[in-house]
Point group: C2
């Protein structure tokens, strides 16, 4: 099943190629010395493709992600979309296993999946284009317009999404190439967003990421594998039977205003977040995962965690106001006189955008001390179909 992200060995490895290559090489893998020569290379780590859920949601975040937003070309109908889905499913099943895609012209770039996942999403436009509006939950729609938004069309909603993640950037580039070129007669690319986290091996697995403002980002987050996660993230099909095992994605591109952020000293930054910069602990605690105490006051009666701080404003009002964040940093070439062009590719997964996500986003839009240094410039929502078993294809429950 896709949510089982334990190390598995790819076909090449099972056939002995990986072990042979390692034995011949007889060198170290970077700085980490392998205990034995037949230890698998981290490049051979596989996230199973087939299963109840698609990979790339509960999968521990890989170091690199590319998000590609596609629009259907005019006249593309349901049969054509089924064609795309069958092709993407077949190629994704092979690539994630470390095998070349069916018509792979650069087979050698496919042999190290490095936990490659390929995740397909459907934007509201797909349902409209195919006349399937009644098969999407009512909340599958662009987010309301928020006063904090400075949305740019070039990062807007698209009909289709591919989220392609791997610990190796060459693997990501190859998978993106294979999957986009095979669909180019039926789709056009609206945007490509490239994101990253710390490299594989820099921090122990499970370490919360840091964003480019230096903040620990994503501490309060449902843990994959728990009952909470499953009920918060995966659809049970109550909204739409075909969506059972699927989820939804809110994808927002949030620019960081690094030049003005620079003007803040560390205490001001920590009061803005409500957390320390050193380890992400709430200002009322000492460890990252300490529960924040929003009632604590100092000797003058002033709240230790300011009520307008990011963690105070984003804190859930009840258990249902939770979603699963799986964000990536972006750092693109600056334009014009910009010094930096960086920020966060914010990605939130939840079973119901209206119930879980919108109340929190509304609260943050109404007030969040951090808003002065962050600007949403892109926003899109997708339904993430469930996973599929062998001999089936992604989205079959909706499309067939």
């Amino acid at each position: 099943m896709a949510e089982n992200s334990n190390l598995r060995l790819s076909r090449r490895r099972l056939l002995g190629g990986g072990a042979a290559a390692l034995a011949v090489a007889g060198t170290t893998w970077g700085a980490a010395t392998l205990a034995q020569a037949d230890e698998p290379s981290p490049g051979q780590a596989v996230v199973p493709f087939h299963g109840v859920h698609q990979g790339g949601v509960s999968t521990p975040p890989q170091a690199h992600a590319t998000f590609v937003g596609f629009d259907l070309r005019p006249g593309v109908d349901r049969a054509a979309v089924i064609g795309i889905m069958k092709m993407w499913t077949a190629d994704a099943a092979r690539l994630t296993a470390g095998m070349p895609a069916l018509a792979d012209t650069e087979k050698e770039l496919a042999v190290d999946p490095s936990r490659l996942t390929i995740t397909v999403g459907y934007g509201p436009g797909l349902f409209t284009a195919l006349g399937l509006q009644d098969r999407a939950p009512a909340w599958c729609a662009p987010l309301p317009s928020y006063p904090i938004d400075r949305l740019e069309d070039r990062w807007g909603a698209t009909d289709l999404l591919l989220q392609i993640c791997s610990d190796d950037p060459v693997t990501v580039a190859h998978a993106v190439r294979v999957l986009t070129k095979n669909a180019r007669s039926l789709t056009s690319i609206r945007w490509t967003q490239k994101g990253f986290r710390s490299a594989r091996g820099t921090a122990p697995e499970g370490t919360t990421m840091r964003n480019l403002m230096g903040q620990v980002d994503g501490t309060v987050n449902p843990a994959p594998g728990t009952t909470d996660f499953d009920s918060l993230v995966w659809s049970d099909g109550a909204d739409q039977p075909w969506l059972a095992g699927g989820t939804s994605l809110v994808l927002r591109r949030i620019r960081m205003e690094m030049d003005t952020w620079d003007e803040l000293d560390r205490p001001a930054r920590e009061l803005t977040m409500g957390r320390t910069l050193s380890n992400g602990a709430p200002l009322t605690g000492t460890d990252e995962f300490d529960e924040a105490d929003f009632t604590a006051t100092d000797r003058f009666g002033i709240p230790v965690i300011p009520p307008g701080s990011h963690i105070a404003r984003s804190h859930r009002m009840h258990e249902g106001e939770q979603f699963f964040r799986r964000a990536y940093n972006y750092d693109d070439p600056p334009e014009g006189e910009e010094t930096s062009n960086s920020g966060l590719i914010f990605a939130a997964f939840q079973r119901d955008i209206a119930a879980q996500y919108l109340p929190v986003q509304q609260r943050l839009s109404d007030f969040d001390a951090l808003n002065e240094w962050t600007t949403p410039i892109g926003s899109a929502v997708y339904l993430i179909p469930p996973g599929c078993e062998e001999n089936d294809y992604l989205g079959s429950g909706l499309l067939k």
Copy 2:
């Protein structure tokens, strides 16, 4: 010395922080299990900054590189450039050691250098701007115009260059931010080029990279640490005394025409290169590092390696026609109706561009079967000053 790229431990590690963090975590680092809990994290690997040469030339290529081309703002004089150099030197010495820069506003992003190197280059425009034309070798000039070129101004020559490499993309982003913002009043950014190779740990150290056409790229290359490398790459100061221990860089952005390359089958691709795709062996051999036999013919008398193939045309005519390649892949968001926007950030280091590089480039421009699928769209040359010792700064031999 900077060319000694053995694993060293950063300050944080030496102070025990790294070991403590590891012991507390008690988990695996990615897929590679560490033999002992006090094994250093690969994030703590340091390339020494001070020494005879700058780092980032003989350093085994890190997974990520960002090249930033700067122009001096009007009126910037030698004293101002010395100011930039002192600042960059001080910050680079600290960042490469895993310490925050002097005015670092995101100190926590500095703690894992992951073999960070920061390499400074001077374009011909810098010498002109400072009235130092007589201190640059005559060959420090834009390359001749080649018929194969389709150069775009946006990737052209700049006054200054930073090459920032690390195995961790977050480390690169942070270093780029620190170094560019500190120089923004005196410089403007002309371009930023982001490149990558396989992630740390995917392939054994020393494996030749593959480019996005799937080719093994860089097999015939002087090996750092050998006498050949030293005499081919490092200046002995005969041209210009201040350049002793330095080198030069030809940086070209080479677009890959992936859509037409796709039309070639594997045999045609291999004849174009003169090497196999599977392991990069010359068509007359079986192993990557077998010497190519350009005289071998098949039973019809036809050369096994076509005389117009890339390796035949690029093969040196004499020992002096060699340079050291240290290229990176690029894969940027496609523009307009492009399917891909990818290629190679070609980086060649040599002590003398005219003697070593130009004859080969001229031959490839005259004819190279590969030219049909590759297009140079950017070209710039730089002098790479020697390294410096503590209490000195990069470029002092030229500037003071």
